[in-house]
């Protein structure tokens, strides 16, 4: 008898968790070993041994940092994002922090089962409609030269307005608290913005972010001089 794939199920919607648990129970290939809300994800993995963690990242994508933390603390556990958000920034963000799959929550039972099995075998899985949209975007940007995998050459084009604002204050040396006051939003939100910002820019902290900004401003200025 083949070993069952052990699943840890993290989603803030209890009804959706019940749906997934039931869908997987119907198949003898899986065993849901733990389930709970996003805030408890790390703790759940401390208690249970899982092969795959299914993780909802929320409409704002702030669960991406949870995915990163889990990949760092439990490198043996595969992280699969199950999300209602089809925002390509969330998909790329999730893959960057080490997620092995990105499945939209409108998935049906058999596609979910198929996806989880292939991920368990070591493959990547992205909801096909999303993957093809992402690919066409990648191709378009590659032509324009702004969507390079090389983080140093990446422009700031794919940042949201808010992220750009945060980035500009950040590069002026303001603290999270000061930025929160300037923008009139909470420190928690600022932290979420900076985490997404860092993951998009491919940097680890604010110092690296500032260095990247300086570099790109410098090269843009040089380019302008040459032009």
């Amino acid at each position: 008898v083949a070993k069952r794939i052990r699943i840890c199920l993290v989603d803030d919607h209890p009804i959706f968790r019940e749906g997934v648990a039931q869908a997987l129970r119907d198949s003898s290939d899986f065993n849901v070993v733990a389930e709970g809300v996003t805030a408890d994800a790390l703790g759940m993995l401390g208690d249970a041994v899982a092969d795959i963690l299914l993780l909802e990242i929320g409409m704002s994508g702030n669960g991406i940092e949870v995915a990163r933390a889990i990949r760092q603390a439990h490198p043996g556990v595969k992280v699969v994002v199950l999300s209602a958000s089809d925002d390509h920034e969330h998909v790329i963000g999730a893959l960057r922090v080490g997620a092995q799959g990105y499945i939209l929550k409108n998935v049906g039972r058999s596609d979910l089962v198929h996806a989880l099995k292939s991920i368990h075998r070591g493959e990547y899985y992205i909801t096909p409609a999303l993957a093809s949209r992402l690919l066409s975007r990648l191709v378009t940007h590659a032509r324009g030269g702004t969507f390079s995998a090389n983080s140093e050459r990446r422009g700031r084009a794919d940042l949201t307005c808010r992220e750009r604002e945060v980035l500009s204050y950040l590069s002026e040396g303001l603290s999270n608290r000061e930025i929160a006051v300037k923008l009139g939003i909470s420190i928690k939100t600022i932290k979420q913005h900076t985490m997404l910002l860092f993951s998009k820019m491919g940097v680890r902290n604010r110092i690296e972010a500032i260095v990247a900004v300086r570099k790109s401003d410098h090269s843009q200025a040089n380019g302008a001089l040459r032009a």
């Binding site: 803030d12 919607h13 209890p14 009804i15 959706f16 968790r17 019940e18 749906g19 997934v20 039931q22 869908a23 409409m59 209602a84 929550k105 409108n106 998935v107 049906g108 039972r109 979910l112």
Partner: protein
Amino acid sequence: VGKRIRIGLVDYQPIFRRGVVLALKASANLTVVTEGGTAADALRIASRSALDILLLGVEIPDHAIATSWAIRQLKPETKILIVVAEGDNRLVVDALRSGAHGCILRDFEGAELIRAIELIHRRRFPIAPARTSRLLSNNSQAFLLH
């Protein structure tokens, strides 16, 4: 024995629908008579089946509002409970203006859903999310529509 409440279940996430069906089995008063995944399904289902309540979870909020409005015109006897992803004030007010009887946040537990459905069936508003009920008390206009 009282008549069971006939429920139509429309949600764009099939897995979520599974969860709802499972959760509603906890109450003998409720029965899910038909299911669908899109706004078009909702219209078809509502016009064909004599539903007491339609649970409506459509991905794009404005589509949910439009669908709710259309069904309320078509089948005024069917009450609508809209499933929303976030506690967005404008959305909740628009939902009530469309003739829906309530909104419920996607993060409900099974027992909360059952309670909300039973409340609506008795011609009352769902108390479901605290955020929504707070909003309702600030918008007595919304109450007056019913």
